[in-house]
């Protein structure tokens, strides 16, 4: 009989995880959380989350790095800031969700999920043209979301086209995207992102 460990042991927690989150802009007040659950109550999508906002905050503080970074919750967050406005301790929970998303992008296997894939496609397009072309972004999303999604979008795209709100051949771009690229290149690879972080499951190395 194979035994599965169901209890998280102290030794497999990441005691530095909360510090890393708190070190990012917007994460500082995470220690003020009183676990009242106002965030989860006001959140319009918490009922679809595997870990509610309150639990995300609690688990970050307790060092459940792998569980938090593997959660779907941050990708369900629509960034409506209801939690941030209602939090009695003025914790910027939406910003904490963004911090978790950024860490998950770098340290977890979240690329299989469609939301981060869409975000990356968005960024790639902006890096190239400086602006977003909605029609092309729509095609990218459809490509990543499967045939059923794409087929359901056809009548909508058709209606938008007939109303001059979707131009297939038009690309929205800056006159001089190069000037934006030069600016972005200045901070590339040394942003708020700790550049390379160990793979999931292994003990993370935290820069002092």
């Amino acid at each position: 009989m194979k035994l599965i460990k169901v209890v998280k042991y102290e030794e497999s927690l990441d005691p530095k995880f909360a510090e890393r989150v708190a070190a990012e802009p917007g994460g500082e007040r995470i220690w003020d959380c009183i676990q009242c659950g106002t965030c989860s109550a006001i959140c319009p999508v918490s009922l679809y989350m595997d870990l509610t906002p309150r639990r995300i905050v609690g688990m970050i503080r307790a060092g459940f790095r792998d569980e938090v970074l593997d959660a779907i919750s941050p990708w369900i967050c629509t960034s409506c800031y209801a939690c941030t406005v209602e939090c009695p301790e003025e914790i910027r929970i939406t910003d904490i969700m963004y911090i978790v998303k950024r860490m998950a992008m770098r340290e977890s296997g979240h690329h299989r999920f469609v939301v981060p894939a869409i975000e990356e496609a968005f960024i790639e397009m902006v890096r190239k043209n400086g602006r977003l072309t909605e029609s092309r972004m729509g095609l990218r999303v459809a490509g990543k979301s499967g045939l059923r999604y794409a087929l359901a979008m056809v009548p909508i795209a058709w209606k938008l086209m007939r109303r001059g709100r979707l131009r297939l051949l038009h690309a929205e771009r800056m006159e001089n995207p190069e000037s934006l690229r030069v600016a972005l290149a200045a901070i590339e690879n040394h942003g708020s992102s700790p550049a390379r972080v160990p793979a999931r499951g292994s003990r993370p190395v935290v820069e002092a």
Binding site: P25, P44, V45, Y48, W75, I76, T78, S79, C80, Y81, A82, T84, V85, Y98, K101, R102, M105, V114, V115, P116, I118, E119, E120, F122, I123, V126, G130, R131, L132, T133, E134, S135, V141, S145, Y149, A152, I156, K159, L160, R163, G164, R165, L166, R167, E172, M174, N176, P177, S179, L180, V182, A183, L184, A185, A186, I187, E188, G191, S192, S193
Partner: protein, 292 residues
């Protein structure tokens, strides 16, 4: 006459085209000038914050620095998403010196100094404060009598920054509806999330949020929903047919921009306001040029 700089954002050049049309028409009717920021770029939206926050802030800051270089007038950002991205970048740069350093480093490469002096405004606030109800009332030539409107603010212009209106009890949109001669219905979900990008990423959840908003507008017996953001407008408008089928409820309702509503009340032409670009055209009891 007042002059503003204009940050259209990508959406107003795409599916949000009727918003741009009606915004420009309404501002023109009020003798307000909008000058597009030269060679603006994407505001960074929410995508950048999930991947590289610093880059997102640099994107937004470049637009603000361009505005400073142009003439430093207030920047009007009609898309709620852009409004928030620009406001947030400005606040983050002011709050965190390390963020400021990165922004200055990046924009320094292209000789763009950032000082953070430019104000970011949403047209809802410009119309309700800079122009004011008195002036607006004078321009209304065609009050939208018996037109019941659900005021929908969405999230980004109320939260987390409350420069447009109070986050809990907003009323500017209702005020504009009354000025237009229409009737604001009681719409408790007026600041509830429209689903944002979830309607593309996780449709099962995103469309449920849309359904809640449409259903409560129908329950309030509204003739139309008025929005302040191209993403809200898109989400609430384009999935109606599909939701009618999947939920077996009648969720059909016109979803228009508040600038289109004002433009109609000003007696402007439907086409000039992009009304004909909507999926469902609002039915008014008072046609152009007077009573029916």
């Amino acid at each position: 006459m007042r002059e503003y700089l204009y940050f259209p954002g990508c959406s107003l050049k795409g599916a949000g085209a009727p918003y741009e049309k009606s915004l420009l028409a309404v501002f023109r009717a009020l003798d307000l000038t909008l000058t597009e920021i030269p060679d603006w770029n994407c505001c960074g939206a929410t995508a950048y914050l999930s991947v590289d926050a610093d880059m997102g802030i640099v994107l937004a800051a470049r637009n603000l620095a361009l505005a400073e270089r142009a003439d430093g007038r207030d920047v009007v950002a009609p898309c709620s998403g852009c409004f928030l991205a620009l406001s947030k970048a400005k606040a983050m740069i002011a709050e965190y010196p390390e963020v400021r350093t990165k922004v200055e480093e990046a924009l320094g490469r292209v000789d763009l100094p950032y000082r953070g002096h430019v104000a970011v405004r949403h047209p809802l606030e410009v119309l309700s404060t800079d122009v004011g109800p008195e002036r607006l009332r004078k321009v209304v030539t065609r009050p939208l009598k018996d037109f019941r409107v659900a005021p929908y603010y969405g999230c980004a212009i109320l939260r987390p920054y409350d420069t447009v209106d109070d986050a809990h009890t907003p009323h500017v949109l209702e005020d504009l509806i009354r000025i237009s001669g229409a009737t604001p219905v009681d719409y408790p979900n007026k600041a509830r999330c429209c689903g944002g990008m979830l309607t593309t990423g996780v449709q099962s959840v995103g469309l449920r949020l849309v359904e809640i908003l449409l259903e409560s507008a129908k329950e309030a017996d509204a003739d139309a929903i008025v929005t302040t953001c191209p993403l809200c407008q898109y989400n609430l408008e384009v999935y109606q047919d599909r939701l009618c089928k999947t939920t077996r409820k009648d969720l059909r309702i016109p979803v228009m921009y508040f600038t289109q509503m004002l433009g109609l009340a000003f007696g402007l032409d439907d086409h000039a306001l992009g009304i004909d670009q909507l999926f469902r055209v609002p039915v008014l009891t008072v046609p152009a040029g007077g009573r029916r």
